[in-house]
């Protein structure tokens, strides 16, 4: 009995070693991202997996491994697991938190791994070889520019903001700095925690409080969905514009369809993880140097370019 078990164990072990040896010929790119717990992270997971599939199919010498983690602590463990069994040629990481992930990523960097950091920076910027992120200030600023233009430089608007974080602050700052000095007046600004239900309630309250509103800006598309329902229910026609941000497929679809209240969208695209993975792989096998700091802009998505940002199969 025992001996048979040992033989089986040895066989499995041998297979694993063989697998390891085979894998060693490939260049390994590990991708560590948060698990899908809301729309945007769901989009990140979708695009990371899509990139892995495409690259693994296109380049037989490269293996992209995607690992999702539900918390910062889990992400630290995931990094240890990923690097313990084999040498990583590159790591693409969207860190949960800057502080907790900095040391673990540095440990991997010290093994000679190429490090790509996406979206949220580490506390020590010297660790990363490539940093890629969107531009939250531009999300606010570009939305504001469009609104000023469309409303003819003046009007009364209400704003819904998300969860008190740097992301939210930057979007609001970009917006407020841009409307400064114009005739656009922010009647009210409140937190709705990037949540459709809270946004629905808040918009109902705004509508009860203000008899005339020219435009609404919800700094995220989940909230915009709630806003649109509340406006629809009220039957009010004074609201000329209701804009969001992030690039949710339902809203991009509205832009494609030429919706008059939501004619544009500003992206903070979860597909940035895909851009980062492709760039990392380009460096690894194509000898295309990519070291540096890349900031994706937040250009207005209009009917003309909306197709580029529309992913009907993505959950977000």
């Amino acid at each position: 009995m025992f001996s048979r078990k040992w033989v089986a164990a040895a066989a499995v072990g041998a297979l694993m070693v063989a697998g390891q040896a085979l894998a060693a010929d490939k260049k390994v790119v590990a991708v560590s991202i948060p698990a899908a717990d809301h729309g945007w992270t769901a989009g990140v997971v979708y695009h990371a997996q899509a990139a892995a599939k495409e690259i693994n199919a296109a380049f037989p010498d490269v293996e992209v491994v995607v690992k999702t983690s539900p918390s910062a602590a889990d992400q630290v463990s995931a990094l240890e697991d990923l690097s313990a069994s084999r040498k990583l040629d590159a790591l693409v990481i969207l860190p949960y938190t800057s502080e907790e992930l900095t040391q673990p990523v540095k440990a991997i960097k010290d093994m000679g791994t190429f490090i790509t950091v996406v979206d949220r920076g580490l506390t020590d910027a010297s660790i990363q070889d490539l940093y890629l992120a969107g531009d939250n200030i531009a999300v606010g600023a570009n939305t504001a520019k469009f609104m000023i233009d469309k409303l003819g430089g003046k009007g009364d608007i209400v704003v819904l903001r998300g969860i008190p974080t740097v992301i939210d602050d930057e979007r609001i700052k970009g917006f407020q700095d841009t409307i400064k000095g114009t005739g656009i007046k922010v009647l009210d600004i409140q937190y709705a925690h990037w949540n459709s239900d809270e946004a629905f309630k808040l918009m109902q309250d705004y509508l009860a409080k203000y008899p005339h509103i020219d435009a609404v800006w919800a700094n995220d598309d989940d909230m915009l969905l709630g806003v649109l329902e509340a406006v629809k229910q009220s039957g009010r026609t004074d609201i000329k514009l209701a804009l969001g941000g992030n690039g949710m497929k339902d809203i991009v679809k509205k832009v494609i369809d030429g919706d008059s209240v939501t004619p544009v969208e500003t992206p903070y695209p979860p597909s940035m993880i895909k851009t980062a993975i492709y760039m990392t792989v380009a460096n690894l096998i194509g000898q295309a140097p990519v070291r540096g700091h890349v900031k994706l802009d937040a250009p207005l998505i209009t009917q003309a370019n909306a197709k580029e940002y529309y992913f009907p199969d993505s959950p977000f």
Binding site: A36, D37, Q204, D250
Partner: protein, 330 residues
């Protein structure tokens, strides 16, 4: 025995005597309405009040169930994620059935929602009673399970309802019957049923007896396991009814649906005068509690003197004052 014999005369007395403690939540509600009117006259407009009361319907309906669970000495932290889970199952089922059943997919989906809620409640109840696990821990566990299931079902995104059903189902949240929004009618029906069962039936008295003193109830021949399990099942069905009203509002279920509702529900129940340690349930107080919570949030937006950063703090202060008023009015 003592718990029962004492509770019967107390009930009779209450019928004839005005009790400040029982009136507490309604006085708080009236005070809040007056305050709101002073702050902003629009507060008492028919549209605003109907919006706010309609919005409070979910928490009110779930809180009626929670009144049973809490008065029987239990606690259910899983209700928020259970709403999301049931909403997800319901939408998926309706979408699946839409091609074959047409609009009949909506009532079929509602039936599935109720069955799912019943089973979820039964699971909670059995874990707590037969498994003899502290309700806090047991339902903390199922809370995580339901939340993970809805996240899995949605891939972290949303499950939207089929377009062909959207318009037909919309009136369940947005429609009115005789001028009264349908969610308000549904919560009124749930409350009347809840009040009848809790105050007028044998089961309601068993519930209070088990919550007041488990050992005494057991010696009196009451099955503690059965009584508590049924309370969790009632809770599950109430959550299902809330989910049925929830789905047509935004037409989708997401991983953030119903987040932190469990805390709102427990707050509504306690503001309403139900003792968190069990033994005493107040259905109409619970309803008042749910409306109070929603009114406070509404008042924060309609008034201009609270900074957006401090809204939650002011809400907390108002809730604590409401509880203090009740405590000292006894």
């Amino acid at each position: 025995m003592t718990a029962l014999t004492q509770s019967v005369p107390a009930r009779n007395e209450r019928r004839y005597q005005f009790s400040w403690a029982d009136a507490g939540p309604f006085l708080a509600l009236a005070a809040l309405l007056a305050l709101g009117f002073l702050v902003n006259p629009d507060f008492l407009s028919a549209t605003n009040l109907s919006n706010v009361i309609t919005r409070s319907a979910y928490v009110a309906i779930i809180a009626v169930g929670a009144t049973f669970v809490i008065s029987s000495g239990g606690l259910d932290l899983s209700v928020g994620s259970m709403v999301a889970f049931i909403a997800g199952i319901t939408i998926m089922f309706m979408n699946m059935m839409a091609p074959s059943l047409g609009l009949w997919a909506i009532p079929a989906g509602m039936a599935i929602a109720v069955v799912t809620g019943l089973l979820c409640g039964l699971a909670n109840g059995v874990i707590v009673t037969v498994g003899k696990i502290e309700p806090f821990i047991a339902t903390l566990g199922t809370m995580g399970i339901f939340r993970a299931l809805i996240t899995y079902m949605t891939n972290g995104g949303t499950i939207p309802i089929d377009r062909s059903l959207r318009e037909a189902y919309r009136p369940v949240y947005f429609g009115t019957l005789g001028g009264i929004p349908i969610p308000i009618l549904i919560s009124a029906i749930v409350a009347v049923l809840g009040a009848f069962v809790l105050y007028k039936t044998k089961y309601g008295r068993k519930c209070a007896a088990v919550g007041a003193n488990e050992d005494v109830a057991r010696y009196s021949g009451i099955s503690v396991i059965k009584t508590r399990t049924v309370a969790y099942v009632i809770q599950g069905v109430c959550v299902a009814v809330a989910a049925i009203c929830y789905v047509p509002r935004l037409g989708a279920a997401t991983p953030t649906t119903g987040q932190l509702w469990e805390l709102q529900v427990i707050t509504a129940v306690v503001i309403g005068g139900t003792a968190l340690r069990g033994g005493k349930g107040r259905i109409w107080g619970t309803i008042a509690g749910a409306v109070i919570l929603e009114l406070i949030a509404n008042l924060m937006v309609l008034s201009d003197f609270v900074s957006e950063y401090l809204v939650a703090a002011v809400q907390g202060v108002i809730i604590i004052i409401a509880m203090l008023v009740q405590r000292f009015s006894k």
